[in-house]
């Protein structure tokens, strides 16, 4: 500064040195020159003041408010992207994948005048849409986020990428897919577009199946474009846990097929069926055939647990078990069946056929209402009720399916009539699974098992987070009583109400039920509307499976022994012809059986069929906008067994309707035709 003033560079100094406050330039009026110089200095002062303001403002923006602005910058520059975690897979007991995930791409764009033409030509071609309308729609959407195509399959995505449309962006998506081709859907449930389970296992095992979405940060520029080529992954997606079911997809498919066929054959409104491993309580199959209304409304529940009904004669098991176990009655005791019509406290109870004196065993065989009623009145209504609860009625089975109804076993004033009606399965409501589980106790020597559907849950690291082994709830009756009841159940088939299905070469045992349906408004029974049911065991001598089939209003034949029983027979028969009937009896079964004092000599386990080719290789296009499917041809199935044919069809996502037994002789649609996933393929067997 000193040097500068010496050299007279400075403004003020120079003025001072040169004759007061005069500029060096000569003005005619020195006074005016002085004014001009003064104003020049003022101007400079003002400039310096303003510069101070600018500097202070800069300091404020860059230092004092910097944090706020940095946060703001982060908010607009960084975008957190969700990397969808695949949902856990659902497997059946043999490891066949029932529910899997597809990783696919969705395409979106912000249409603008620059890319509408390209977008139009690309998607009009690929989706086969009229270009004119597409262009008009895109024009309307310009500047807005627009889904061009949701969940395109790989092939379509590849094609779209070839067009190289500017501004077209992709988003990875994970879609739930079921490989069963419609089978087991009631058990599996379904998910919504955000992959949240809305029914069945998908809902009840939500906390296991849902993975943890990963996060990635993308840097975006002011135009919203991604700036980093690869998003920086903050956290990796963790897939959901794998859920293993006790379901056997082969039996499941079989049961559903047979039930659907039976429902249409016997003109029933709907049907429900359960297959249980009677030794372990593992649920092998849960099937329901829906009414037309329910089908139209979409499947929302698994009716085998969420619907209850009056069991009718199938419930007599409880009365007979109580009678034998309480020791007041022996199988040889005989009762008067009063020729088909008897009074119980001034009300009539009828039998289907007229009988004279019947032994207890015969009464079970021919399903005599009158004798059952008399027996119940001997042991007492409250005792029968207690036994019903002992068999698990009126309480939830507790399997992992949503919306289970427990039914009701009401306590009442046990008049003669009420006791009798209760003993034959009226005034009580049960669900199909409860009924099956109660019958299972007959076959396993008197133990009430805890039925279960989810056997194991394995997390992505392979660690088991949940495991269910067979568990005995309690002993219902002694093995002797169970054995005696089993003998009686065998006679039902050989010489009783289910003698229609008697086949010496394929012995099964069971109990029929034919219940009049109550009118929900009047409470009276409606004539000619029945719930037909059959609970059966297979094989009869050493039961492995217990099955229950229930038909709602079969017409014109309404007897359980004539309708439900043949369905179950077909299921057992076809299942037993499986290529690999002897599934591996897991060691855990033996261990548990020893603990529960059960016979451990089950040499053959459940008839486990050949694993259904589970993962459907030919990925179908899930193109919603298009609903066009990749064309593949139906295989030639003639000459194959039903199981082989069904497996082949299922592997392609087709549904099979099987008619008859034996080998395929005719198929419709014919081999070589194109098909649509989910399409029904009718097979005739002989």
């Amino acid at each position: 500064m000193a040097r500068m003033s010496d050299k007279s560079h400075g403004l003020n100094r120079s003025g001072k040195r040169r004759n007061g406050n005069l500029p060096r330039a000569r003005f005619e009026n020195p006074e005016f020159g002085r004014l001009v110089l003064r104003r020049l200095k003022f101007a400079l002062l003002a400039v310096m003041l303003f510069w101070t303001v600018l500097a202070v403002r800069t300091v404020f923006i860059q230092v004092v408010w910097a944090d706020r602005y940095s946060r703001r910058a982060q908010g607009q520059n960084e975008q957190t992207m969700t990397i969808p975690a695949p949902r856990g897979e659902v497997l059946d007991r043999n490891g066949s994948k029932l529910a899997v995930n597809w990783h696919n791409q969705s395409f979106y764009a912000y249409p603008d005048t620059q890319n509408i033409a390209r977008l139009t030509s690309c998607f009009a071609n690929i989706l086969d849409l009229p270009a004119k309308e597409l262009r008009r729609d895109l024009y309307r959407q310009r500047g807005k986020f627009t889904w061009m195509l949701r969940q395109a399959d790989d092939r379509t995505a590849e094609k779209i990428r070839e067009y190289n449309v500017p501004g077209l962006k992709t988003m990875p998506e994970v879609t739930r897919a079921y490989t069963t081709g419609g089978a087991a859907q009631g058990v599996l449930g379904f998910v919504d577009t955000d992959n949240r389970g809305l029914g069945g296992i998908e809902y009840s095992c939500q906390q296991w199946l849902t993975g943890t979405d990963g996060k990635a940060v993308i840097w975006r520029d002011g135009l919203g474009r991604k700036y980093t080529i690869d998003p920086v992954r903050v956290s990796e997606p963790i897939p959901g846990c794998q859920v293993e079911l006790t379901i056997d997809i082969g039996w499941q498919t079989l049961l559903e097929d047979e039930l659907a066929r039976g429902v249409s054959e016997y003109n029933a409104k709907s049907g429900m069926a359960v297959l249980l491993d009677c030794r372990t309580g593992e649920i092998i199959a849960l099937a329901d055939a829906l009414t037309a209304d329910e089908t139209a409304a979409g499947r929302t529940k698994c009716r085998t647990v969420s619907d209850v009904f009056e069991p009718g004669s199938s419930f007599k098991l409880v009365t007979f078990a109580a009678a034998l176990a309480e020791g007041q009655i022996s199988p040889a005791d005989s009762f008067d069946a009063e020729m088909g019509k008897a009074r119980f406290s001034r009300r009539w109870i009828r039998d289907d056929k007229k009988h004279g004196y019947l032994t207890v065993a015969d009464a079970f065989r021919v399903s005599s209402n009158i004798v059952t009623g008399r027996i119940a009145n001997i042991i007492g209504g409250d005792v029968v009720r207690r036994w019903a609860m002992r068999f698990g009625f009126g309480a939830r089975t507790g399997i992992m399916l949503p919306a289970e109804q427990r039914g009701s076993v009401p306590d009442r004033r046990w008049s003669e009539y009420v006791t009798a009606a209760f003993s034959i399965g009226h005034g009580v409501s049960v669900n199909t699974l409860q009924l099956a589980n109660a019958y299972a106790s007959l076959a396993n020597g008197g133990l009430l098992m805890q039925p279960y559907l989810v056997s194991r849950v394995i997390d992505p690291d392979g660690k088991t987070v949940y495991e269910r082994t067979p568990r005995v709830r309690h002993r219902v009756m002694s093995p002797q009583v169970a054995a005696r009841l089993m003998e009686m159940a065998r006679t039902v088939v050989t010489n009783g109400t289910a003698s229609l299905i008697n086949d010496p070469e394929f012995p099964i045992a069971g109990k029929t039920g034919t219940a009049e349906k109550p009118d929900l408004e009047t409470g009276r029974m409606i004539k000619n509307k029945y719930m037909a049911s059959f609970a059966g065991f297979w094989p009869a001598d050493k039961p492995q499976l217990v099955g229950v089939v229930v038909l709602d209003e079969p017409e014109p034949i309404h007897y359980g022994g004539w309708t439900a029983a043949p369905i179950l027979l077909n299921v057992f028969r076809r299942g037993s012809f499986a290529d690999d009937p002897a599934g591996d009896p897991a060691p855990r079964l033996i261990a548990y059986a020893e603990a529960a004092e059960m016979p451990t000599d089950f040499t053959s386990a459940t008839g486990s069929p050949a694993a259904v080719e589970s993962f459907w290789q030919g990925r179908r296009s899930r193109t919603k906008a298009l609903n066009r499917w990749p064309t593949e041809e139906i295989p030639d199935l003639v000459g194959l067994t039903a199981r082989e044919a069904v497996a082949l069809l299922q592997a392609r996502g087709l549904q099979a309707a099987v008619n008859g037994t034996g080998r395929v002789v005719k198929q419709k649609p014919a081999p070589g035709q194109n098909y649509r996933p989910g399409q029904l393929c009718q097979l005739s067997l002989r």
């Binding site: 101007a43 400079l44 400039v47 600018l54 800069t58 860059q62 910097a66 910058a73």
Partner: protein, 381 residues
């Protein structure tokens, strides 16, 4: 005037006779900051414009190459102008002004670019006649004020300046280029005030111009919205218009020492004009408070030295020429930084010497060259 030719001959003979050391040097505290700013400007323009250029033009260096060409031209022009004796040019002042007006008329016949007719194409490079006019106008004003001296206090002379100014404003608004009109008015009022216009006239003209600006803004709806949220913007730039918000965010991210040259995020298409009007924000983000204040300081040096040169200019023309160049620079820098820092309603104006834009660079450099020429004479003992 008569003996001017004589003087010219003499001075030429003189300069040949004298030793080189005797030629007074241009003021280094003007040209050094100016050259530093211009040189830094090209680098910063590259950093700020590369993304935009590769997005919308032929390549990342699109703007940079052009800026380099203009830089060479501007440096040469500055050097040449600093070597020319400004007094020899004074007689061309009316002609220059006429040329400036001609250019303003010619540009109105051009095809509009982005809704405005501001460029006249010379080969691949466009020139903004408004910048040419600005220099010619300053030159003429200095020339005229030097001749008039005290007579400038008479209303008739004032009115003559206003007529020129209004004509120019009309032509500029027809482009339209509202910001250059604003700068022109601000510079003129400042210069006339320095030149001794009575206070009441200065206040009158300033008041009138403010009223006129209000009428233009609100009457014609021109840039209305920008003014409307002005108060909120001064209180907090985040609340202001998009550009200022982005500029503030970028500067805030820069902090004390900046994010490093080339690694700013504001230019990633957040700040709309990162290499022209808002280059200060880009610089502040990449070089931090340090860089931002350095640039403020460099401008202040030039302006301070400009006014000092005026005070020491050996003649009145030199006095007013230096004052005019310094005032014009002051007004442009102050307006631009005012906009970037959210102190002034947004208006499109380049930052002299730093922003991309050949015309601005060239004519500002010529102006500074003239200032250096004056400083050379001022240094003559």
């Amino acid at each position: 005037m008569k003996n001017e030719d004589e003087y010219l001959k003499m001075s030429l003979l003189d300069s040949k006779r004298k030793r080189r050391r005797a030629v007074p040097s241009a003021d280094p505290s003007i040209w050094v900051p100016a050259v530093v700013l211009m040189a830094a400007g090209t680098i910063l323009v590259l950093s700020a414009s590369a993304i935009l250029a590769s997005d919308e033009f032929s390549g990342p260096a699109f703007f940079w190459i052009r800026q380099l060409i203009w830089l060479v031209a501007a440096m040469c022009a500055m050097y040449v102008c600093s070597r020319i004796d400004y007094r020899r040019l004074s007689r061309f002042a009316p002609l220059l002004l006429a040329l400036g007006f001609l250019a303003l008329v010619i540009v109105l016949g051009m095809t509009p670019v982005r809704g405005a007719r501001r460029w006249v194409g010379i080969g691949p490079l466009g020139v903004q006649p408004s910048e040419l006019f600005r220099l010619a106008y300053l030159f003429f004003l200095a020339y005229s004020l030097a001749r008039r001296q005290e007579r400038v206090r008479q209303p008739k002379y004032l009115i003559s300046y206003l007529v020129i100014l209004l004509t120019a404003s009309a032509l500029l608004l027809a482009q339209p280029s509202f910001s250059s009109v604003l700068c022109l008015w601000a510079t003129t009022i400042l210069l006339l005030w320095i030149a001794g216009t009575p206070k009441r006239y200065t206040i009158g003209i300033a008041g009138m111009s403010i009223v006129a600006a209000v009428i233009v803004v609100f009457g014609f709806g021109y840039k209305k919205s920008r003014v409307e949220n002005y108060a909120a913007m001064v209180a907090d730039p985040i609340e202001g218009c998009y550009q200022v918000r982005q500029a503030s965010i970028a500067m805030g991210v820069g902090g004390w020492i900046g994010s490093g040259l080339g690694s700013g995020w504001g230019k990633m298409r957040y700040i709309p004009d990162p290499h022209t009007d808002f280059i200060f924000a880009s610089i502040a983000e990449e070089t931090g408070l340090l860089g931002a204040l350095s640039i403020l300081f460099l401008y202040l040096i030039i302006i301070y030295r400009g006014f000092a040169v005026a005070a020491r200019a050996p003649d009145r023309f030199g006095f007013f020429l230096a004052a005019a160049v310094a005032s014009s620079l002051t007004v442009h820098v102050a307006m631009n930084l005012g906009v970037v820092l959210g102190l002034v309603p947004t208006t499109g104006l380049p930052l002299p010497l730093l922003s991309y834009g050949g015309s601005s660079l060239l004519f500002t450099a010529i102006g500074i060259g003239l200032l250096l020429s004056v400083s050379r004479e001022a240094n003559r003992a």
